[in-house]
Amino acid sequence: MSAAPQGLLAARPDFAAIARWVSQRARVLDLGCGDGALLKYLWEAREAPGYGVEIDDAEVVACVKNDINVLQLDLESGLSLFRDGSFDTVILSETLQTIHRIEQLMREMLRVGHEAIVSFPNFGHWSARMQVLLGRMPVSEELPYEWYDTPNVHLCTTRDFEDLCRKLGIRIRERVALHHGRQVSILPNLFGSLAVYRCAAV
């Protein structure tokens, strides 16, 4: 592996976990794709052609520069441009916490894709719990914002997320909790700071 993807993996530890669940040459839709780094990574690692959806102007231009197919759309208004089952995998990487209408988006992801991969910062991580216990809103590597300037509107724990999946009738096929890029197997809701889920419709 070249130096660039290594650096990328260090910066975005969920990428490798996501890539493991993307099959070779799968059609991928990455929601909230930023500058297209994950799509570029998936193309290099899995030859998976994909589209990104992004709303931020600068990120969209960065995608074009990175030769990533990008669609400038607002995820809050749904995925109506995409036909049922038109993607193998729909990814929501560290974007869930910024979405207002999460239920609608989760349903849409599994309408458009056969599988969904969702990663998010785990609010149940012990350091977050500790900070709340000490009377402060958590600030960490995964949650770098202060309460007054955060773009995050819907923070949750892994348990919360699993409850939502149950409510929506979404089957969790696999899950992994990470901390500093390493897999956490003991008490993931306490020791995992980043959660990655592989979901399918029931």
């Binding site: 589209y51 102007d57 600068a58 969209v60 231009v61 995608c63 074009v64 520069k65 030769d67 990533i68 197919n69 990008v70 669609l71 400038q72 759309l73 109506s80 441009l81 995409f82 036909r83 038109s86």
Partner: protein, 378 residues
């Protein structure tokens, strides 16, 4: 606007003419015995002939895309901010072609040309031309210039419809289509505005069924009203309000029918200017070409089915303040392209300029175009 001797200008340019003697059968059934196209080129065609970009014009523009004329330095090309050395469409890398469309009034064969059958100007007898006809004529020019395959065909508005049509009519001959501020078909409201413009022209007493050249008159009143209507649809309410507000042209309200407001003065000025350089017969035909364009019509209104044969990669751009061809129209094209499993990127730029935003240098928009062209391999 760039000063003529700006190092990012293509500099002084010369318009060329290409004559085609083979008759061309038009979509409407008429046949032209032959035709001429006025065109300009900027940059150099590379040895492999892989770097050609065709820039298609919209309603009122021409083949004069960039640069200026040595004897008229103030006559700067209509997309000069985009095309030039170091500009987003970089003429150090690309060979760029601008062409005046068939039926035009800037040098290509059109209503003002002589009808070989009568020896007089075609006038009202010049057939209605369509986007399909324009692309067919452009393809002959490409043949003439030795261009088998364009690196890209691009345009805004009606120009974008030509880029779209290129991808359908000649899928093998175009690698990228840049479809900006466009729609795959006009709405009833769009057609309605065009019809008002046409009525303004055809009811002008100086119109004479289009045979006004022999009479030494021009349907100026109709043409300027047509332009005024068009101009309103090119700007957003916000842009107009920002530019003119309710600013008065005179000290106080006049309580008569002279110009009170700045915006009235502006529209009159635009209308007057337009009527001095644009031909009414051409205007009528171009609005019809807009109305008739609908590539999905032959596919049961299924645009995805129509797009299936395209092979190009697409860049679709819309502007949020454009209510003439609103973002929704572009999203319909994007959806069809996705359904047809084409390569597409889509930008929705939050620029205030309305439909005309496609001509303006917005950092996000031009940044994306620069990046897109930068990634086109030669």
């Amino acid at each position: 606007m760039n000063a003529p001797h700006d190092s990012s200008s293509v500099g002084a340019v010369v318009a060329h003419k290409a004559r085609f003697d083979e008759p061309i059968r038009l979509r409407g059934g008429a046949e032209l015995p032959g035709f001429e196209l006025a065109y300009e080129t900027y940059g150099e065609l590379n040895a492999a002939r892989t770097n050609a970009v065709l820039v298609c014009h919209a309603l009122n523009a021409s083949h004069h895309v960039a640069g200026y004329y040595a004897d008229r330095p103030e006559d700067i090309g209509w997309w000069d901010n985009l095309v030039g050395p170091g500009k987003p469409l970089d003429t150090r890398r690309f060979f760029v072609i601008g062409v005046n469309n068939l039926g035009g009034c800037h040098g290509s064969t059109g209503p003002m040309s002589l009808n070989p059958a009568t020896g007089k100007p075609w006038g009202g007898d010049f057939p209605v031309v369509t986007v399909e006809d324009w692309v067919a004529a452009q393809a002959r020019l490409a043949d003439r210039l030795g261009i088998e395959r364009f690196a890209a065909v691009m345009g805004g508005s009606l120009g974008a419809m030509q880029a779209l049509q290129w991808s359908l009519a000649h899928p093998e001959r175009i690698r990228h289509a840049l479809v900006i501020a466009a729609t795959a078909k006009l709405s009833a409201q769009n057609i309605a505005f065009n019809e008002v413009a046409r009525q303004a022209i055809t009811t002008d007493p100086d119109f004479h069924g289009g045979h006004y050249y022999d009479k030494g008159v021009v349907p100026v009143r109709g043409l300027r009203i047509a332009r005024m209507i068009g101009h309103i649809t090119y700007l957003s309410d916000e842009a107009m309000m920002g530019k003119f507000g309710r600013q008065l042209r005179r000290a106080a309200l006049g309580f008569d029918f002279d110009i009170d407001f700045e915006v009235e003065s502006y529209l009159r000025y635009q209308g007057d200017k337009f009527s001095t350089y644009f031909d009414a017969n051409t205007y009528l035909r171009i609005t019809k070409a807009l109305d008739y364009f609908d590539p999905a019509a032959d596919y049961g209104d299924d645009l995805a089915a129509a797009m299936a044969r395209a092979k190009a990669a697409f860049l679709v751009v819309s502007f949020k303040s454009d209510w003439r061809f609103a973002p929704l129209r572009s999203r319909e094209m994007v959806r069809a392209l996705l359904d047809a499993r084409k390569i597409v990127s889509y930008l929705e730029i939050d620029a205030p300029g309305g439909h005309d935003a496609f001509l303006m240098d917005d950092a996000r928009y031009f940044g994306a175009l620069r990046a897109y062209f930068g990634n086109i391999e030669l």
